[in-house]
Amino acid sequence: MSFLEVDKLSAFYGKAQALHNVSINVEPGEIIAIVGANGAGKSTLLDSVMGLTTVTGDIRMEGKSLVGLGSAGIVSSGVGYAPERFNLFPYMSVHDNLMVGAYTARADIEKNLTTVHQLFPRLKERSKQETSTQSGGERQMVSLGRALMTSPRLLLVDEPTIGLAPKVCLEIAEALKKMRNELGATIVITEQNANFAMTLAERLYVLESGVIKAQGTVDELRNDKRLTEAYFGH
């Protein structure tokens, strides 16, 4: 039994089907990346784990199905989500955004807040700033911080580096590694940039038009000519 098992998952937005029979396994403490072009269904996959789409098939964490629990129930089960558009609360302070993340994990507030401030010292400095006035990189930090405040054992991060300056990308990548190495979180990220994904993840799944096209370790996929041409650019 893997830590996370996505089992023959099909997902729908209304009548439109966005995922077809997708199966994924994630072992405890792994970082895996879902790689694919825009519109391949990467966000849909993470949305589905969070209970935000209509699905058939099953999603299990530690053997227990997450399907039908609702987003709030899935968060309490130990899944944290940092979505691509962040979905922050624009007119609330950084601190209050983080505190909303603590809604289901109130016993851990002190511990989690310390962790977030250690990972992103800038959030401590700017704790009173409204997120509507922040840069993309800072918002990504608030978004990851808010997800950490839910005390997640599984962390889903949608396009962690999209639109961010290279220096900030590195900062985010470092933070994600620390979350795994020091906090023991299992992490699933999505990436359009396969090269970046390879610096962070141990294993990759390649998603194309809602279907898993390839999977393997970084080394295995690096030697796959078909994929190198399509996703790695050279």
Binding site: M50, L52, G70, S71, A72, V75, S76, Y81, P83, F86, N87, L88, F89, P90, Y91, M92, D96, M99, V100, G101, A102, Y103, T104, A105, R106, R146, A147, M149, T150
Partner: protein, 282 residues
């Protein structure tokens, strides 16, 4: 002086009246046109419990708030949730509900208006202006409730969750907040606030089956003029509306009391549809 004192006192009461309406509008994005009915219910429940049955006034006020809260919860469960997403249907059905409730009140209590005895009797002088203890008490209660609400929304988990749902429902969901529960809670709170405001409002004016209309107009004005509701914005606009009414009554004619409020609504809609302070904050 009389105008300033009256304006301040009345505005405090208006802020309380509008608050419950603002809450629903900002958290649930619903224009609850039956909001005035909470005031109607609150006023008549208090009248029955405290004035007819002679139960102590504070208990009557408390029961009125509980009944308002129950009506709010029922309205959410039976009407708003099933019609989720269809704003026009919600607005039409809430408006009809208010009219039905009015008919119910006429059926039970009769058509004529009733005088609600002052909650606190007596008159005093404030800076040379004569003020009833009743309005003074209503204003103080309003401010106490509003300050309490402000800290509740800012400093508690549930309050922050209400803000979160009002700004980004999806963001709230993935933070572990169940928007459905928060909406339900807000409807209950709104009902309790409306019914409480209704007791004070009825004791300031009088109890009549059509007493839901004026507070609804005040509330709509506060939301439209203030933009999507914040507690501070509600307070400011309630003072604009309150002072305008007191001035209209004192300077022009009592009959025109509500007219300027309505003109203000239309004026703001034309000139600045997003409201004076419009932003999605609680």
């Amino acid at each position: 002086m009389q105008i300033i004192i009256q304006g301040l006192l009345l505005s405090g009461l208006y802020a309380l009246i509008a608050m419950g309406f603002t809450l629903i509008f900002s958290v649930g994005r619903v224009l609850n046109l039956a909001y005035g009915a909470y005031l109607l219910i609150g006023g008549y429940v208090y009248f029955t419990i405290s004035q007819t049955l002679g139960v102590p006034k504070l208990i009557g006020l408390f029961i009125a708030a509980i009944v308002g809260c129950m009506v709010g919860l029922l309205k959410y469960r039976l009407l708003v949730k099933p019609l989720k997403g269809n704003h026009v249907a919600v607005e039409i059905s809430t408006l009809i509900l208010a009219v039905v409730l009015q008919a119910g009140v006429v059926f039970i209590y009769g058509d004529s208006s009733k005088i609600l005895l002052p909650i606190v009797a007596g008159v005093t002088q404030v800076a040379g202006a004569s003020v009833t203890y009743n309005l003074l008490a209503a204003t103080m209660a309003s401010w106490t409730i509003l300050i309490g609400l402000y800290f509740f929304v800012r400093k508690t988990h549930v309050g922050r969750a209400m803000q979160a749902v009002s700004m980004d429902t999806r963001g709230a969901s993935i933070s572990g907040v169940d928007p459905d529960k928060i909406n339900m809670f807000t409807w209950g709170l709104s009902g309790a606030l409306g019914a409480t405001a209704g007791v004070f409002f009825a004791s300031y004016t009088q109890l009549s089956p059509s007493m839901w209309v004026a507070p609804l107009i005040i509330s709509v004005a506060v939301v439209i003029v203030g933009g999507i509701g914040s507690i501070i914005g509600t307070l400011i606009v309630a003072h604009i509306v309150g002072f305008m009414e007191v001035l209209a009554v004192a300077v022009i004619a009592p009959e025109l009391r509500g007219v300027f409020t309505m003109l203000l609504i239309i004026g703001v809609l034309v000139v600045r549809p997003q409201g004076l302070f419009g932003r999605e904050e609680l």
